[in-house]
C-alpha cells in the first residue's frame, strides 16, 4: 500500500474557488419533492464558523448511488458557471457557511442504499482551522437496524438525526467540539 498524501486545512480563502452557484440546490427551486436541510457549523465555544465548507453526497430517491456529472457545469462561452441542467440527479452538493455559520441544502430525500437500510446524506466538513476534513451523516429520521446508530449511546446518536421543522425542512447543526459534539466517522 502506498502511503497517502496528507491533508491540509482548506484555509480561509477557498471562497472564490470551490463554492459554485447552485452548489446547495440539487433540485431546481420549487421542485415538488424537494426537502430543505439546514443548520449551523459551530466550534467548541458554541460560536458559529463562518468559513466552513460542507460537501454532501447521497443516494437518489430510489437508493441509486451512480450519481451523475453536471453538478458544476461550466459555460465555455463565458467561462462562468451554467448551473445544473435540472435533468437527472447528481447526488453532490457543496455549500460554504455564511457569516452566521449557517448552511442550506435543497435536495431530494435519499433512498436506502441497501435493502432495508436507513437512508442518510453523507457530509464532509472542511474549515479554516480544521487540518483534516471530517465525515458525518444526516439521517432524516431515526429507525431500527442501522449498525452505526445502534453502536451509539442515545445522546451521541441524537447528533446524527435531523430535527423536522415546518414545510419539509430539517435542522441539522454540526458541532466540531463540545458537549454536543457531532459524531464523526472513520472508514478505516
Amino acid at each position: 500500500m502506498r502511503p497517502p498524501t496528507p491533508s491540509q486545512t482548506v484555509g480561509p480563502f477557498f471562497g472564490y474557488a470551490l463554492p459554485f452557484p447552485g452548489g446547495g440546490d440539487l433540485v431546481p427551486p420549487g421542485h415538488p419533492r424537494a426537502i430543505t436541510v439546514h443548520g449551523a457549523v459551530l466550534d467548541g465555544a458554541g460560536q458559529p464558523i463562518p468559513d466552513a465548507l460542507l460537501e454532501f453526497w447521497q443516494a437518489d430517491p430510489a437508493g441509486g448511488l451512480a450519481g451523475a456529472p453536471g453538478s458544476m457545469r461550466r459555460d465555455p462561452v463565458t467561462g462562468s458557471f451554467a448551473g445544473r441542467s435540472g435533468v437527472g440527479f447528481t447526488g453532490f452538493g457543496r455549500v460554504a457557511t455564511d457569516a452566521d455559520g449557517h448552511w442550506t441544502l435543497r435536495t431530494l430525500p435519499p433512498g436506502p442504499a441497501a435493502p432495508g437500510a436507513l437512508p442518510y446524506i453523507s457530509v464532509c466538513v472542511f474549515a479554516r482551522g480544521l487540518l483534516h476534513h471530517l465525515y458525518t451523516r444526516v439521517y432524516l429520521e431515526d429507525g431500527a437496524g442501522d449498525p452505526l446508530l445502534d453502536s451509539l449511546d442515545p445522546d451521541r446518536r441524537a447528533t446524527l438525526i435531523a430535527r423536522p421543522e415546518q414545510d419539509g425542512a430539517y435542522r441539522f447543526d454540526i458541532h466540531l467540539q463540545g458537549s454536543e459534539e457531532t459524531v464523526f466517522l472513520d472508514f478505516g
Binding site: 502506498r2 502511503p3 497517502p4 498524501t5 496528507p6 491533508s7 491540509q8 486545512t9 482548506v10 484555509g11 480561509p12 480563502f13 471562497g15 472564490y16 474557488a17 470551490l18 467548541g44 465555544a45 460560536q47 464558523i49 460537501e55 453526497w57 448511488l65 450519481g67 451523475a68 456529472p69 453536471g70 453538478s71 458544476m72 457545469r73 461550466r74 465555455p76 467561462g79 451554467a82 447528481t90 453532490f92 442504499a113 441497501a114 442518510y120 464532509c124 474549515a127 479554516r128 480544521l130 487540518l131 483534516h132 471530517l134 465525515y135 451523516r137 452505526l148 453502536s151 451509539l152 466540531l176 467540539q177 459534539e181 457531532t182 464523526f184 466517522l185 472513520d186 472508514f187 478505516g188
Partner: protein
C-alpha cells in the same frame, strides 16, 4: 468591560510548542506507535485548530455503502481554459510561469481516472483574489488563481499557472506561510476525498509554519513537496514541477477487488 486585543505571540513561542509536539510524536513512534500519516487535528501551535477539532474519537462506520461511492464529474464540469490560470484575463499575469503536473493514484497505485482536481492560490505577490485578504501586497488584475481539470486515463492532471508568493497571516507575530497551491481532489469514493496544499522544494519557511508541521512524520511532510523537474520546463517559457498524489481511504472497487 473593555478588552485589549491580545499581544501577538512571537515566533519563538510557536517554535517551542512545535518542537515539543514533534519530540512527543517521535518518541511515541519509537515506542511502537504507528506512523502518523495525516496531520493532527489537535495541533495547538495552529491556533485556529484549538476549538475546531473533535475531542471524542472518530466512530467506525460499518456498512458504508454510500461513502464507498462518490460524486462523478464530466466534460460539462470543466472547460479547456480552466486548467490554464494564466489565460483567464485579457493580459498576462505577473510572476514566474510554472507548469504543475502529476498523477492521482489510489493506495494500490491505480490511477484515478476522469475525476475532478481543483486548485486555488495566491498571486506572485502572495495576495489572494479574496476580500478577506487585505495585506499590503498588490492584486494582479490578470490573475484570479483558481483552476480545475479532470484527470486523464493515467490519472494525470496538468495546470499552467504562476508561482505563488509567500504570504503573512495572523497565527502569531511575523507568521508567514510557505508558498503553496491549494488542491482539492476526488476519488471514486467519497471516503477518498482530499483537500491539501502543495509546496515548493527548499522553502526556507517550512520550519516556521505550524500548518505544514501539523504533520509530525517527516516522511509524510515530504509528500506535500513538489519536485522541480527540468524536463518539464519549457525553453523561454515556464518552469516545471511534478507532484503525485495518493488518495487515502477505501473505495467500493478497492473493497470488491481486495477480497
Amino acid at each position: 468591560m473593555s478588552t485589549n486585543p491580545p499581544t501577538p505571540e512571537p515566533q519563538a513561542v510557536i517554535d517551542a510548542e512545535m518542537a515539543r509536539v514533534q519530540a512527543e510524536a517521535e518518541k511515541a513512534h519509537a515506542d511502537g506507535a504507528p506512523e502518523e500519516l495525516q496531520p493532527r487535528r489537535d495541533y495547538p501551535p495552529y491556533r485556529s485548530s484549538v476549538l475546531r477539532h473533535p475531542k471524542r474519537p472518530l466512530v467506525a462506520a460499518p456498512e458504508a455503502f454510500t461513502e464507498l461511492r462518490g460524486p462523478v464529474f464530466g466534460v460539462t464540469d470543466v472547460t479547456e481554459l480552466d486548467s490554464d490560470l494564466t489565460r483567464q484575463h485579457h493580459g498576462e499575469p505577473l510572476g514566474e510561469r510554472i507548469v504543475v503536473t502529476g498523477r492521482v493514484l489510489d493506495r494500490d497505485g491505480r490511477p484515478v481516472r476522469g475525476q475532478l482536481v481543483e486548485i486555488w492560490q495566491a498571486n506572485a505577490s502572495g495576495r489572494y483574489a479574496h476580500k478577506g485578504d487585505q495585506h499590503p501586497a498588490p492584486l494582479d488584475p490578470n490573475f484570479t488563481g483558481a483552476g480545475r481539470c479532470l484527470t486523464d486515463d493515467e490519472g494525470r492532471y496538468t495546470f499552467t499557472s504562476i508561482k505563488p508568493g509567500a504570504y503573512p497571516w495572523r497565527n502569531h507575530l511575523n507568521a508567514w506561510r510557505p508558498a503553496h497551491i491549494h488542491f482539492s481532489l476526488f476519488g471514486t469514493a467519497f471516503t477518498q476525498r482530499l483537500v491539501t496544499q502543495m509546496y515548493f522544494p527548499n522553502d526556507p519557511l517550512f520550519p516556521y509554519d505550524p500548518i505544514f508541521n501539523s504533520i509530525t512524520d517527516e516522511r509524510a511532510r515530504q509528500r506535500l513537496i513538489s519536485t522541480y523537474d527540468h524536463d518539464l520546463s519549457s525553453p523561454e517559457w515556464s518552469l516545471g514541477y511534478r507532484w503525485d498524489i495518493v488518495l487515502d481511504g477505501p473505495s467500493a472497487t478497492w473493497m470488491e477487488e481486495g477480497r
